[in-house]
């Protein structure tokens, strides 16, 4: 599979002021490598503050990385000046769908105007604009398009607005899209519709999608591969179904355990959950960053940082106890605390 976008050892560090004198380093991304192929959706999951949104923004060059490289179709765009990003259409080819369908669309603009804006900015001739708008509305299944282009955002439901957001991202014919929590504010009954739409668009347009979410169940339906992040690092990555069925990293296993299912059988039982909350990224734990919450942590985990190693083809995990977990000599299924 030809890679659309590759991130190689990407870092994003922030200086955080502490009082008047000192400052501290916050490592939002601490060496992340990930690639997204054509017709592929890669999901990035993790708790808030794990760096997943920063990763998406860095990949679009909306945030400048502090280290590492960003390749778009093999070409290094890490240090390309903004002017060149625009002139050589990188900006046009990389788009984003935002989380909040309510605040991300100007309420005073008709849908047609919302969709015309990116085309005007990118200098499309007037005669091409309207036909493109109508096609884009059809692509996201807002029928009849002639009627929807005249409407104002407040006349649309959350799901319909999110389709406008997707249409706006698609109208420039991008090859790479970052969708950051695109369904978290959508009601359950329309959520599946948006997910299916993202899937069909990706296939028909041969795009690569980076799907950022806290909701692993939705990641399962849209993504071929998944990366689980913890405190700015990838804890585990691999084919989505394989990672969900046979997780290696204890964090992945516990994260999966936290997800409730609509099933009366689990009712009223206490669920095994991850103890505590993610530590502050300003002062991350030594060794494996997950060791403070990991029921399997041993001395080595406290001192030595585990490497992200490949245990099965394409299935990587950063855990000192991975071999034991895979062989079944240790497991997490025991105590529910």
């Amino acid at each position: 599979m030809a890679e659309i976008l590759s991130l190689i050892d990407v870092k994003k560090h922030y200086e955080v002021r502490k009082g008047i004198l000192g400052s501290q380093e916050l490592r939002a991304l601490d060496g992340v490598s990930l690639s997204i192929g054509r017709r592929e959706t890669v999901a990035v999951v993790g708790e808030s503050g794990c760096g997943k949104s920063t990763l998406g923004k860095v990949s679009l060059r909306l945030i400048e990385p502090s280290g590492g490289r960003i390749l778009f179709k093999g070409e290094d765009i890490t240090r390309l000046p903004e002017k060149e990003l625009r002139h050589r259409s990188f900006r046009r080819k990389m788009q984003t769908v935002f989380q909040d369908p309510y605040s991300s669309i100007n309420p005073f603009m008709r849908i047609g105007e919302v969709l015309a804006e990116p085309l005007e900015i990118h200098g499309f001739p007037k005669s091409e604009i309207r036909p493109k708008i109508l096609t884009a509305l059809e692509d996201v299944k807002l029928f009849p398009p002639e009627e929807f282009e005249e409407r104002y955002p407040h006349e649309l439901s959350g799901g319909q607005r999110q389709r406008v957001n997707i249409a706006r991202a698609l109208i420039l014919d991008p090859e790479y899209i970052v969708a950051d929590e695109p369904v978290s504010m959508i009601d359950a009954s329309s959520r599946a519709e948006i997910l299916l739409l993202l899937k069909s668009i990706r296939d028909s347009r041969e795009m690569g999608i980076l799907y950022i979410t806290h909701d692993i169940a939705t990641a399962r339906y849209v993504s071929e591969r998944i990366a689980v992040m913890y405190l700015g690092e990838i804890a585990e990555t691999g084919a989505t179904m394989e990672v969900l069925r046979k997780p290696i990293h204890p964090y992945t296993t516990l994260l999966l355990n936290s997800v409730p299912e609509p099933d009366p059988a689990g009712r009223r039982k206490r669920r095994a959950v991850i103890k505590g909350e993610p530590p502050s990224p300003l002062n991350p734990p030594s060794g494996c960053k997950f060791h403070t919450r990991c029921p399997l942590a041993v001395e080595r985990c406290r001192t030595e940082k585990p490497l992200l190693l490949e245990y099965f083809p394409g299935h990587l995990a950063a855990c000192h106890r991975a071999e034991e977990i895979i062989s079944g000599s240790v497991s997490l299924t025991s105590d529910a605390s």
């Binding site: 439901s157 692993i216 169940a217 409730p260 299912e261 669920r271 909350e277």
Partner: protein
């Protein structure tokens, strides 16, 4: 279930006056909450579930009007009594609520412990030092160290703030606790911790709980019974096994369940075409009929009643009526 009823809601109608006209947010809702049980009220945005909770706490906004109905608690209608009487004798003491987004409305310049202790002093008349003691007990009860009494909201994480808000709702030892989306802004891992806490509270304090949420999966984790709301009405009510299991159900419930992405199993989520009704002019007949795959003529003109099957399983659908002849 042979538990005695603690709260009875009878034909409740709550409408909002808006520039668009009357919005029938809650439109003829009846149910019973039994002692020691947890009842989940699930529905999508605009289904009326939050309005229902606010009504039970007499905390409706000014433009809301209780058009009809009663809420019976201890054989008294808490809707018809004077607001002052309700506040003095019922709110927080007997019926209490964790409001949606409450963790973000903690006073940033007061210690969280003082905020937990506040009702004990102003409603319970306890001296400060005693109130502090009780508040500390409740802070411990919700799974935090007593010393956190002296912290300020900004020193706490989202999960801890949510625990504080739960402690505030419990500190007057109510019998009924309403939780409105108590975990929707939290990560799944923290959400699971809060849900475990709620389960413990139900078991240890013998609380009767109304759990309002849009998240069916989450509801199924805590609830004994489930009420499904759609367009201001309860369209289905029954024990969890019936509502989520194979029992004949309301087409909306069926489609809602089919729309949920699941971590396990092989179903592919479907979606419900169309959108929820505009409650300022709801469709005639059954409110779900414009989106219902099984719609027939009767549904378009006449609203179905709640049909009963399997003992106590209520379904507001003509299809279920047909089954009974």
């Amino acid at each position: 279930m042979s538990r005695p009823a603690i709260l009875r809601v009878e034909d409740l109608k709550v409408h909002y006056s808006t520039p668009k006209g009357h919005v029938r947010a809650v439109d003829g809702v009846s149910f019973t909450l039994n002692r020691g049980e947890s009842l989940a009220v699930v529905g999508e945005s605009g289904s009326g579930k939050t309005t229902l909770g606010l009504t039970l706490m007499r905390a409706l906004p000014r433009n809301a009007e209780i058009v009809s109905g009663r809420v019976m608690l201890d054989d008294k209608d808490i809707l018809s009594m004077g607001l002052e009487d309700f506040r003095r004798a019922y709110s927080w003491r007997i019926i209490s609520m964790v409001f949606q987004g409450a963790m973000n409305s903690l006073n940033p310049v007061l210690k969280v412990g003082d905020q937990v202790a506040e009702p004990l002093i102003f409603k319970g008349g306890l001296p400060r030092d005693e109130a502090r003691k009780v508040a500390e007990e409740f802070i411990e009860l919700v799974g935090m160290p007593r010393a956190f009494y002296d912290r300020y909201p900004h020193e706490l994480s989202g999960g801890m703030k949510q625990r504080i808000v739960v402690a505030m709702a419990l500190v007057m030892r109510p019998q009924i606790l309403i939780l409105d989306e108590p975990t929707s802004a939290l990560d799944v891992t923290i959400q699971a911790q809060i849900i475990n806490l709620v389960k413990d509270l139900i078991d240890n304090l013998g609380l009767s709980v109304i759990f309002i949420t849009h998240d069916v999966a989450l509801a199924s984790d805590v609830a004994d019974r489930m009420a499904v709301m759609y367009g201001g009405e309860i369209v289905e009510l029954g024990v969890l096994e019936h509502v989520l299991g194979g029992a004949p159900k309301h087409p909306y419930t069926e489609k809602l369940l089919a729309s949920l992405p699941r971590l396990r199993g092989d179903n592919v989520p479907e979606f419900i075409p169309g959108r929820p009704p505009d409650l300022s002019s709801p469709p005639p007949g059954c409110r779900f009929h414009p989106r219902c795959p099984y719609v027939f003529d009767k549904c378009r003109v006449e609203a179905p009643p709640l049909f009963e099957s399997n003992g106590s399983h209520l379904v507001k659908c003509w299809l279920r009526g047909e089954e009974h002849g």
